[in-house]
Each structure stands twice: as structure tokens, then as C-alpha cells.
Subunit: 361 residues, 2 copies
């Protein structure tokens, strides 16, 4: 048990051998700590929501001790994970993501599924991000014992926030959630991160004023397995249908991707609960095709590899740019380089040498 | 003079103090070597083409001694560089890049400009890549004393090939070339590299069979400052005009970029030398707008910074993945990760620790 060794070797030299009482106390506390991870784990796989919340809190903590504990917990949960369907949902603010997720979540609860909703939102630094920012959101999901809702972890870097959500998925899966919905706001890179951790990626849109193609980030359209035009109700219904046709035409310009799935466009009204079942049917079609042709499993494997290399490369950059010598020298070298005093390559060589020096000390 | 110190301290302990003859000989040779870089430099700024070729050969060499010499040479040339217009030209094989470059080059020669043509083509591993692969190509440019043509440097990595071309630009500029044309084949990443080293980026296309939008890599269209539809001659003329209209419509879907330039679409026949002057007019329009609004200089500064950070980050990755410990461990960790035995983040931590170990030895 590596963690026992870690804990026992923690302060052995500080314990005076004569005071039996202290030794026993310390031993008890160590045991309690150990039991607590086992406890949390046992409670998680027994589908205890409080334990799941505690586990995710551990993952989100930046304290070194918690980080290690969290890794132990994740490792224990891994064999129980990977059995859910992971759905990513993105869309700009105002598109109705929360209402849509609540409608889809309720449909899934009605079908006897357990649903967890997580989020990746690096812009929500302090606390509750887009999910639950407004307490009335997803009210019926919050009340259901079969649903688990967790706001975005806080953090400055997308990489950090995404990693925490990615690890929380494992705990939710170990806790027996069948469907994990990952919400993200439509801000560039966070979609790419979420796309890299889900099986199905859904883009939520509104019918605009005829300029549907104008404002789309092309990269996001290419990632989407489905586009759903929300708020197709009342006066908006006709415009939503028109938007659907425009998007369908636009999607046909893209070559069929590796998963042999041609992304489709649907309309719905999350508010009036119309068209949500069609969305779920579409997701099921996607799943049966990609599970059958092997893409589903291949994609998950590739996502794992992607996160491995991504984490390594981000960490390499972070250590370099946070290196004391580099912090001091980088600005002046950038200045030299942009003013053509030295070539970018010579400056890079100089800085890379500089970053080696400290390691040798 | 840092290079003198380098050279003099090269083998000082190996020279027997008694043999004056040997010492003098070695000293002469050292002097000659030193003079040679000075010579090459003086000849380059005196617009000697042979010296320019020699200098680029030095840049392209992988021998450590040459690499250092090349850096000295580039440093000497830097104050004389940065005075040309750099034009990137891309297009799939068969689009007529060489014919187009010859036609444009000849037009520029007629206007009294000195023209250098370089290339970035990482697929041409051994020798002469797309330029000059066929000796009849660019024949009239090859013969002109005002033109300098150099095939792509060889190399396995795009980063390496691009760096060599990027450094060769500096020498060409020091040698007084007014226009530097960088050719690249249409294979994904190399366009991005060329786009990052030029002032104006031109995409050469053919009129297709009505499916103009289908096969385009969206990323490349977004980079282009102009699209030129070549082979607008004979039966093809009408189709070329239609293609032009289609592309113009497609380009209007893109928001105006930071340089306030809206990319345009032209047709030409390089073979019949028709429409080339319009292309040059367009490039001049672009230049006067972007020089006026400051984008031209800002872009060059940003490109320099880009190459600095890019080089650093590639080098960090290369050292990591080539680390002996990592080479051995990476495959098995990837395997563990894709089979859900350990989380990508735990594997990354393990590998990053492993890569630190050797540096400490």
C-alpha cells in the first residue's frame, strides 16, 4: 500500500519514543485519515451523494495533502469508471443551456437514468459559475435524488479547471451515474477541452436575424455532433426552422468525419419541453453507430492519450516560463527579438540554456 | 569579439608550446576561418550571389561548427535585413505555382526589383523539392542576375525546415533583394509556418468542377490575403470567373480581420501571362493600407515573438520526448492510460518526475 508508507513516514523522527500516549494518538489519527479515503470510496461506490461531493471537493482542493489523497481516491474509483455516456453541451450565454439541460435531464430521469451535470467554466473564478449561479436554475434536477449537479471548479487556467472536471467524471461514474452532462460556456478554448472529454458534443444555438453563418466560430461547428436550435417556440418557430435549414446546408460542406456520423440539426423549445426527445433519439442513434463501428472506444482511448500529452506539454511550458531566470530574461529577449536585434532562434537558444542552469545547481 | 574567444579557446591545451611552426599554422588557419565569415558577410552585403549561396548552405548545415558560424553570419546580417517585402504563395500540386512565381518574378524584374525565391517543403527530404525539381521550371528567373532561387532546405521536421528558410530570408535581405517569395506546397502545417514569416499570403487555386467550397481547408482560406484562380485561359476562363464569384461570396462570411484588409479573389493565367499585373497591384494596395495603419510593422514584431516562443516550446517537447528514461516509459504509460489503468494526469506526473531524474545526476 503506497499510501500507508507515505503516511507512516510522514513525521517518524518527530515522535518522542518515550511518550506512548502521543504515539498512540498519532497512530489513531493516521488510521482515521486512511479510513476516511476508504470510507469515501466505499460510500461513493455505494452511490452516496454526500461522499461523491466530498470526493470532488478533494479533487478541487489545491492543498498538497488533498491532491495526493484525491489521486488515491481516483485510482480506487478507476476500475468502476468508464461506464457512462458523456455528453458535452455548449452555447453562448442566453441560449438557454440551463433550461435545456434541465429538460434533457428530466427526460433521462423519467427513463430511469441517473444523471450528473458538471461544468467547465474557467471564467467563474470564485464560485458557482453558470450552473446554480441562479438558484432557480435546474430546480427539479436539484431536487431529484437520481441527479447530481456540480458547478465548475474554480481556477485561473483552463488546463487546471478542465483536469478537475475530467477527474470528477471518474468519481461520478464510480457512483453509478449513467449519463454525465458537461456544460461549458461558448468561450473558445474551453469547448475544445470539453470536446476532448465527451462522447457526444452538442452545440446549442438560437435562430438569429438571418446571419446564422456570420457569427459562428468555424472550429466549433466542426466539433459538433449535433446543432440544436433552442427557443423554437411562439413567433420564433418559423425562424428556427429556417435557421435549421441554413445550418444543415452549411454542415453538408464538411466532409464526413472519421466516425461516419453526419452531424444533424434539430430545433427544440426547452422552455415548453418540445423536441427534447428527438435530441435524445439522435444521441442514441449516434451511440449505436459509433459503438458498432468501434469509434466510441477508439475515441475514448485517444482522448486519454491526448490528456496525457497535453498535461505533459502544459507542465513543461509552465515550469519553463515560471523559472526564475526566465521570468527575468524573457521580457528583454522578446523586446530584442521584436526589434530585430537578435533572431528569435538565437534568443530561444539563450533562454533554453538559461533555464538549464538552475537545474544543475 | 565572442567568436574570437570561442575559436582561440578551441584546442589551446593540445598545442605543444615548443613547435612554433605548428602554432603559426594553426593560427593562420584560425584566422582564415574567421576571415571566411567576414568575407562571406562582406560579399553578401556587396550583393555577391555565390556568397549568399554559401551563407545559406552554412545555415542549412547540421554540423555543430557550421551552426555556430551560421549564427555569427546571421547576426552580422541582421542590421541589414528587414527591408524587403515577403510574399508567401501556397497551393496544391498541379495548381501551377512555379509558372505563377516565374510570371510574377519576371514582372517584378521588369520593374527593376531584385527577387529571391525560397521554399518551405518538409516533404522534400533529400534535395530539390518542388522548386527546380524540374530543371525547365522558372528558367528565365534562373538566368536573370537580379533573381536568386533556392530550393527548400531538407529536414524531417517542419520546425527545422521552416527555421532554416526563416534565417535564409535575413541573408537574402542583407544581399539587397527587394521581394522575397516563399513557396510552399499545400500540406497543412507548412502553410501555417509560411504564413508566420511573410507579409502577404497568397493562395493559388484552380477552378474546380463546381464544388469549390467542398475541398478547401478552412484554416487556409482564413489565412489568405488573396486567392488567385490560376489557369483562367481557353475553355477554363468561364469556370474560373464562376469560381471567383463563389470564393468572393465565401470570403464575405468571414469578419474583417485586424489588418482592416478584406481579402480579394482574382483570376489569372500564368502560362499566358495574363492578370499577373493585377495581382501585383493588389499586393501593393495591401502594402499601402497595412503600412499606413501600422499593421505591417506590428505583424512582423508579432511574427518574431511567435518564432521565439514556438522555438522554445518545440525544443522543450523535443528534449522531453527524446529523454532516455521517457522513451522507455512513454509507450507503456500511454498503454496504461488508454486502457484506463491509470489517469492521464497521474501518468503525466510520473513521466515528468522521471524526466527530472536524469538532470539531477
Amino acid at each position: 500500500m503506497p499510501k500507508e508508507i507515505t503516511n507512516k513516514t510522514n513525521h517518524p523522527s518527530k515522535v518522542p519514543s518515550s511518550t506512548n500516549h502521543q504515539v498512540i494518538d498519532r497512530f489513531k489519527r493516521l488510521q482515521q485519515k486512511e479510513i476516511s479515503i476508504d470510507h469515501i470510496f466505499n460510500d461513493i461506490v455505494s452511490k452516496n451523494t454526500t461522499a461523491l461531493s466530498k470526493g470532488i471537493t478533494l479533487i478541487e482542493s489545491t492543498q498538497q495533502e488533498h491532491v495526493e489523497k484525491a489521486q488515491q481516491l481516483i485510482e480506487k474509483c478507476l476500475p468502476y469508471a468508464n461506464k457512462s455516456i458523456r455528453i458535452g453541451i455548449t452555447g453562448v450565454p442566453g441560449v438557454g443551456k440551463s433550461t435545456f439541460i434541465e429538460a434533457l435531464g428530466n427526460l433521462l430521469l423519467d427513463k430511469g437514468k441517473k444523471v450528473a451535470v458538471l461544468a467547465v467554466d474557467p471564467s467563474s473564478t470564485v464560485s458557482y459559475g453558470s450552473i446554480l449561479g441562479d438558484k432557480t436554475r435546474m430546480e427539479s434536477l436539484v431536487r431529484s435524488p437520481m441527479a447530481f449537479i456540480r458547478p465548475s471548479p474554480s481556477g485561473n487556467s483552463l488546463g487546471g479547471v478542465a483536469q478537475k472536471t475530467r477527474e470528477s467524471i471518474i468519481l461520478c461514474e464510480a457512483a453509478g451515474y449513467d449519463i454525465i452532462i458537461i456544460e461549458t460556456v461558448g468561450v473558445g478554448q474551453s469547448e475544445t477541452a470539453v470536446h476532448g472529454m465527451v462522447d457526444f458534443f452538442l452545440l446549442l444555438k438560437l435562430a438569429g436575424a438571418g446571419d446564422e453563418l456570420q457569427g459562428i466560430k468555424r472550429g466549433i461547428i466542426e466539433m459538433a455532433d449535433a446543432i440544436v436550435i433552442n427557443k423554437a417556440d411562439g413567433d420564433n418557430e418559423k425562424r428556427a426552422r429556417e435557421a435549421k435549414n441554413q445550418f444543415r446546408k452549411a454542415l453538408h460542406l464538411y466532409p464526413l468525419s472519421e466516425n461516419k456520423w453526419s452531424p444533424d440539426v434539430l430545433t427544440c423549445s426547452a422552455l415548453e419541453n418540445k423536441g427534447i426527445n428527438k435530441v435524445w433519439d439522435l444521441i442514441q442513434d449516434y451511440l449505436s453507430i459509433t459503438i458498432e463501428n468501434g469509434f466510441f472506444e477508439k475515441n475514448r482511448m485517444r482522448q486519454n492519450k491526448f490528456w496525457l500529452l497535453q498535461t505533459i506539454e502544459e507542465q513543461l511550458k509552465t515550469s519553463f516560463y515560471n523559472h526564475k531566470n526566465i521570468k527575468e530574461a524573457l521580457t528583454s529577449k522578446i523586446d530584442d527579438v521584436i526589434h530585430h536585434k537578435i533572431t528569435p532562434f538565437a534568443a530561444a537558444r539563450y533562454l533554453l540554456k538559461l533555464s538549464e542552469h538552475k537545474n544543475e545547481k
